[in-house]
Amino acid sequence: MTTSTADHVTYLVRHADDCLVLAQRLGEWSSRAPDLEEDIALTNTALDLLGQARSLYTMASEREGGGRTEDDFAYFRTEREFSNLLLVEQPNGDFGLTMARQLFFDAYQLSLWESLSTSSERTLAGIAAKAVKETRYHFRHSSAWVIRLGDGTAESHDRMQAGIDALWRFTGELHAGDELDRAIAASGFGADPAGFAEAWDARIDKVLGEATLHRPEDAFQRTGGRTGVHTEHLGLLLAEMQVLQRTYPGLVW
């Protein structure tokens, strides 16, 4: 199956959007985390994700022919033009919810980067080979917290379980995949996330088991992020992230 340059750009921007939106969410914890070390941990994770987003936007821009810059992708697209997963745009909630979101995403992203590091496209393989080391570290961190809170006090256990339960309906989208994913995978450029489901299940089940938490029943799963149909939360996130550039286009530090 052949894929066009436009397909490659769409594919790269999807994954860049996941990283950017989650980075913005994690950045909201800055100065509000439970302790100083965690404040630094969450913003360090955000920084890694922001770096990954920049690498992917830059690559997409080069593919396109340089019409748009990484800032154009971040600041001058509307909600409907963002193609991130619904999971990453969900509000932080309490620390348990934030860690549930992080665990779900890290376990998915680990497979994504592992898979993309063998991409036929050298630039993408390079980005992925670097990012996989960062994501491995994020996954260790989120796993450790989910286990600590789940297997902690009655209060921390209940709140951790509540976070897992609340976000479960957004996890199906991680591995849904679509026509573009399948075409991109067939061409050797990228990977089909449907293939990550088994590894994700194994990772999540292991952590939930150690954390004495239970895996929610599989129920209705929300999708739509990849086609720009988002939950109400993304618009507000973008408004805050984009306000300065929208008000003063081209403003620099």
Partner: protein, 156 residues
């Protein structure tokens, strides 16, 4: 001697460029500096970031330009490559010694369990306080013997 200047001078100048967050280490010690080449008077310096989002890269690029301004009269391009991915295994032994003397526990070989030694008393039983330290490349430890809190450069 090439048209833009002497490559030996260029290399010496680049050895004066240090990491803005860890000033005891040069970009060569860290393995950030990957290659230097000249074609005519066009010089290309190739660097790689430690982490995808390393915020020191802009400063490092500016420092490289400034260090080269006295020794290279031609054009200077600073290329950033992602491949092969940076690893702490590229850090020089000299760099690791300088790091320990500076109070930061150096990384061990990747793929092995990290044997962290307290940079102050050399005790081998420091306790991990936080997986994330003052920069993306470090984790925070405290020594169980002398009580010293210190950064450990993570092996990746």
């Amino acid at each position: 001697m090439t048209p833009g200047g002497d490559l030996a001078d260029v290399r010496a100048a680049l050895d004066s460029v240090t990491d803005p967050e860890i000033p005891v280490l040069t970009i060569r010690d860290l393995g950030i500096l990957r290659d230097v080449s000249a074609e005519g008077d066009a010089l290309t310096v190739t660097i790689t970031p430690t982490y995808s989002g390393c915020p020191a890269m802009d400063t490092i690029r500016a420092d490289i330009r400034s260090a080269l301004s006295d020794v290279w009269t031609g054009s200077v391009e600073i290329a950033t490559v992602m491949w092969p991915a940076w690893t702490t295994d590229w850090m020089s032994e000299d760099g690791k010694r300088k790091l320990a003397a500076f109070g930061i526990a150096p990384p061990g070989p990747t793929g092995e369990a990290d044997a962290v030694l307290c940079p102050r008393c050399r005790s081998d039983g420091p306790v991990l306080v936080s997986r994330f330290g003052s920069t993306a490349c470090k984790a925070l430890y405290v020594c169980d013997s002398c009580g010293e809190p210190f950064d450990h450069f993570k092996a990746i």
